[in-house]
């Protein structure tokens, strides 16, 4: 009896609130537990595996990434590398985000086949293990914890990637005639209970790159920014981009450029 009264009261309160206020309250409640959730984040389990993979001699060429892969800060150096990508890599003659760069190192330095990595690049819901590339990305990103985003926008090639990404974000197409900006180009948008960041603002762009790679509570899986971009394409009913494509790097460059100068908190925990 007591319980049904409590529930009925709760329902009345919920229904009488306008949707925006309801979302605001819910988000305030989520925030209360956010610090605790982030402090003990299962993402750390994936970091552990990634560190082992980074240091292990692997692939047909039997070399480690630690002794062969340059993320822009010198061979094997991971500290601070994540927040300084995307950047231009002369050896590949391309602007690459962190994940794309690690894939490049795995194929060029360790001799893995790109097709094998691209076959299943993301952890599926309820899969027991994340792909190696996801663990590696998580490890590398964790080595930039509490550092400021510092993508080299002054580099012309990086600037080109940024501008292309910006144009892509505004490009409307598909059966819904959606662009990224339809949902992410103005303040105050949301999907159900989730507020959507405005990626054209510094605060919104930070929310777009903060917490990626992230441990997703739904399915209990570790996912990367590459996955996030792919899933946005899917939700727009666009064809999904090829894994580790230049298009995705450009979009990440657009967001990271707008987030420059703000603190990256390391791998996150996502809904």
């Amino acid at each position: 009896m007591k319980r049904s009264i409590v529930m009925a009261t709760a329902l009345t309160v919920t229904w009488s609130l306008p949707a925006a206020a309801q979302t605001k309250d819910a988000n305030a409640e989520f925030e209360k537990f956010r610090a605790e959730m982030e402090e003990s984040n299962p993402a750390e389990l994936f970091e552990l595996k990634g560190e082992e993979l980074w240091k292990a001699k692997r692939g047909p060429k039997n070399v480690s990434l630690a002794e062969s892969c340059d993320l822009g800060q010198g061979i094997g150096k991971v500290e601070g590398a994540w927040v300084k990508m995307p950047r231009y890599f002369a050896d590949a003659d391309a602007v690459m985000d962190g994940e794309r760069r690690i894939v490049w190192c795995m194929t060029e330095k360790q001799g893995f086949k790109f097709a094998d990595i691209a076959k299943k690049p993301f952890q599926g819901a309820n899969d027991n293990n994340a792909p190696d590339i996801t663990n590696l990305v998580t490890y590398v990103a964790s080595a930039s914890k509490n550092m400021k985003f510092d993508m080299p926008l002054h580099d012309d090639k990086v600037r080109d990637a940024y501008e292309t990404g910006k144009a892509m974000a505004a490009y409307r197409a598909g059966p819904y005639d959606f662009s990224c900006n339809t949902c992410h180009g103005a303040d105050g948008k949301r999907i159900r209970m989730q507020n959507l960041p405005n990626l054209s603002s510094p605060e919104g762009a930070l929310r777009g790159v903060q917490g990626w790679p992230g441990y997703r509570m739904t399915g209990g899986v570790m996912l990367t920014s590459q996955w996030r971009m792919n899933d946005c394409f899917r939700q727009q009913r666009f064809p999904e981009p090829k894994y580790a494509s230049q298009a995705v790097t450009n979009l990440i460059a657009y967001m990271t450029g707008n987030a420059n100068g703000q603190m990256y908190k390391g791998p996150g925990i996502k809904r």
Binding site: S40, E44, L45, L48, N128, G220
Partner: protein, 103 residues
Amino acid sequence: MADPMKIRAQMKGDVAEIRILMSHAMETGQRKDAAGNTVPAHFIQSITIDVGGKRVVDGQTGTAISRNPVFGFKMKGAKAGDKVVVNWVDNKGDKRTDEATVA
């Protein structure tokens, strides 16, 4: 073999805070896979924590613990350098023991 845990044990004043991350599917036995088949229950049933050679926490868990479990405990009487040993056993008999040192 089961993946390693991540254990952090830190003194805060005279209290040691112990945080444990475990890698485990924690299948409830109620979920269906893509083909519509029920995925059998697979979950941790027993957790123990020993600090400095003494049993401090003895736990039993069911299917409602989240996938990749996270636990936090506190204790008095520990000191920096004490060995922390965490052990789990699941319903299929898989087990894992990992150690850390109180910092």
